[in-house]
């Protein structure tokens, strides 16, 4: 059976068989088709969601961030008395942290917020004021629309200057001429030196702006909040963020930082680390649970289709006993019969699977469109969907093919 083109002949024979029994073949292919479509569809929908989430994280200022935030140290379910003696998260932690791995750290930013009464000619509201330091602006994905950012001396000296988000600018200066005007934060008059670009991100097309609250920002130098709004001599902060593009350096740094801050805080567990990339990975592994569910539902469809196919094949084998007998009489071995039945089943799987891929693409497109997320498909999804179908197609083809190959030639010939 070598150079005689036996495979080609079997394929041709299988194709003829399929065409002659179109209804049966379509039914058989249908099970495969639906299985492949559901695996591919499921994967693609979850891929599309994930891709969108990644884009959101990147727009939020990237994944390469390690946040340090204060928290209440608890003892026996109560805030620890020692907390009072502690100084909390403060500038010293940020400066010490940066010194640990100065070459790997690309930037450190601080945040110190306060609530205050904000008054302009047009509005008078109680608002959150974000005291920012370091490279907070780029690290959080902000960009200036007009004016300028804070200078080093303004940051250091806690100068009375402010940059407004679009919503804040529109609220306090509805005429759109915020730049250069002044505003009162509590009892401090501040000058508006810039405005931020509008932050927009729609996770779903037609959905709400995920970043709307970022347009409410009223940013002043962190030192202004620390010195003039809280009267805090310890220069405590709400959040320190380190940017480390080298993901490998990140986890080592996190450990070192934990040790340092813990020592600074007299071993009080009054802070927490938040590795954005790790959070992302956790979220992704959560996503992979969905993938398993999708895979499972596809597998169930394929198993269901496979069992139906075994039934159909067994029924059709009854009609073809005589044909098998004739082939055996003229010299086909059981192995040859087995191969020809396998070829038929696998051809159905291949064609049904291909149609399933097409349907799966349409399916994914329809669903992602209906939820308003851009469609994102990966080669791995195609591979899995088709691979599963091929594996199950093969598995379920074995029994009928084996049955056919075991027919006795004489009895098969006499079969009516």
């Amino acid at each position: 059976m070598k150079a005689s083109g036996a495979f080609r002949e079997r394929l041709l024979g299988a194709w003829t068989e399929l065409r002659e029994n179109l209804g049966r073949s379509v039914l058989q292919a249908l099970g495969v088709l639906l299985g492949v479509a559901s695996v591919l569809g499921g994967f693609s929908i979850s891929d599309s969601q994930r891709k969108r989430a990644d884009e959101m994280f990147i727009k939020m200022g990237g994944l390469d961030k390690l946040n340090v935030m204060p928290r209440t140290a608890m003892k026996d379910g109560q805030p620890s008395a020692l907390q009072q003696a502690n100084l909390g998260l403060r500038d010293a932690d940020a400066i010490g942290g940066e010194a640990l791995k100065a070459d790997a750290i690309q930037g450190v930013s601080r945040q110190k917020s306060a609530r205050a009464r904000i008054v302009s000619t047009f509005a008078d509201q109680d608002r959150q004021v974000s005291g920012i330091g370091g490279d907070y602006i780029p690290a959080n994905g902000y960009g200036l629309a007009e004016g300028r950012g804070f200078s080093v001396s303004e940051m250091e000296g806690g100068a009375p200057v402010v940059i407004l988000g679009t919503e804040a600018a529109a609220t306090f200066f509805p005429k759109g001429d915020a730049l250069g005007q002044s505003l009162r934060i509590g009892d401090i008059p501040v000058t508006i030196i810039g405005t931020f670009q509008e932050r927009v991100f729609h996770f779903r097309e037609g959905g709400g702006n995920q970043f709307w609250w970022r347009n409410r920002i009223i940013a002043v130098p962190a030192n202004l909040v620390q010195r003039r709004m809280n009267g805090d001599a310890y220069r405590r902060v709400d959040r320190v963020t380190f940017r480390i593009p080298d993901m490998a350096a990140m986890s080592g740094f996190a450990q070192q930082l934990k040790g340092l801050v813990s020592a600074n805080h007299r071993l009080q567990d009054d802070f927490r680390l938040d590795d954005v990339a790790a959070r992302m990975r956790r979220r992704q592994s959560q996503g992979s649970v969905y993938d398993i569910v999708f895979l499972l539902s596809g597998v169930l469809a394929l198993v269901g289709g496979g069992i139906v196919n075994v039934n159909i094949q067994m029924a059709s084998l009854k009609e073809r006993v005589r044909e098998v007998g004739v082939k055996m009489a003229i010299g086909a071995s059981g192995r040859e019969i087995f191969k020809s039945f396998m070829t038929e089943a696998l051809l159905i799987t291949a064609l049904g699977g291909a149609a399933g891929l097409v349907l799966g693409v349409g399916f994914s497109w329809g669903i992602t469109r209906s939820i308003g997320v851009p469609l994102h498909m990966t080669p791995a999804s195609f591979f899995w969907a088709y691979g599963m179908a091929a594996a199950f197609g093969f598995l379920f083809a074995l029994y009928p093919a084996w049955k056919a190959s075991r027919l006795s030639p004489m009895e098969a010939l006499r079969y009516e």
């Binding site: 150079a3 002949e9 005589r322 009489a329 071995s333």
Partner: protein, 247 residues
């Protein structure tokens, strides 16, 4: 060389061939010790009433089935104890079947039907096609090569079956009531084809219940109750007078 007979080893040589169906109480003894030998180039008619065991004998001689006991040597190959795959190979290379109901594959064209045994034998595509066309030429229906079997008359179908049986130049041509489904005129034509094949040196074993057809053969082997009742061995005296004329 196929014309020499009685001198070489026989094509068919059986000794004490026994076939039992079922087991114990319900056992049916279809063959009870058949001794038969057929020389190269012989034209033998296998006759016997229904239930005599001739179908069973035919199945064993055609390697479709194995005997329960006894030995069978086909063209020098001991058949007993062979695996299914080895039997398939012997059927493919040594035996050509012609059935009463033609048994062509309905979905394959005429030429593909004839090619099939060569495909199983591993003959290349080009050679397969050439040989199949030559065989169809030989049986006189080369013009139908690309048609499907359903479009042919009974006589034509049987000619295709003969061409297919000859595909791998078998040592033995086995025909089971080859004219049973044909009217007498086409039947006679098909028989004429068999006689022609015999003249060309093929070894023929024809199963029939029709004494007129059996009369065409050189030798009648009669099976009764699972044993050879007459004609088990070739002898010069077995050659019937006027065996070359159609009934």
């Amino acid at each position: 060389m196929k014309t020499t007979r009685g001198t070489d080893a026989p094509i068919i040589e059986t000794l004490g061939l026994t076939k039992v169906y079922g087991a114990n109480g319900a056992a049916v003894h279809a063959l009870r010790g058949v001794d038969l030998s057929v020389q190269q180039g012989e034209f033998v008619a296998l006759v016997g009433p229904s239930g005599s065991g001739k179908s069973t004998l035919m199945a064993i001689l055609g390697c479709l089935d194995l005997p329960t006991a006894g030995t069978y040597t086909l063209d020098g190959h001991a058949v007993q104890g062979l695996s299914g795959g080895e039997l398939a190979r012997i059927r493919n290379e040594k035996v050509g079947f012609v059935f009463q109901s033609y048994n062509l594959l309905p979905k394959a064209s005429i030429v593909r039907n004839v090619e099939l045994p060569m495909l199983y034998a591993g003959v290349g595509r080009k050679e397969r096609r050439e040989r199949a066309l030559a065989l169809l030429e030989k049986v006189g229906i080369a013009d139908k090569a690309d048609k499907l079997p359903a479009t042919l008359s009974g006589g034509q179908k049987q000619r295709v079956a003969v061409a297919r049986a000859l595909a791998n130049a078998p040592a033995l041509l086995l025909a089971d009531e080859p004219t049973g489904a044909l009217d007498s005129k086409t039947g006679a034509e098909v028989l004429e084809l068999f006689q022609e094949l015999h003249r060309q040196g093929n070894t023929l074993l024809l199963v029939t219940h029709d004494p007129h057809i059996a009369a065409l053969a050189e030798r009648r082997v009669e099976i009764r109750d699972g044993v050879v009742a007459a004609g088990g061995e070739w002898e010069a005296s077995h050659v019937q007078a006027g065996s070359r004329t159609a009934p």
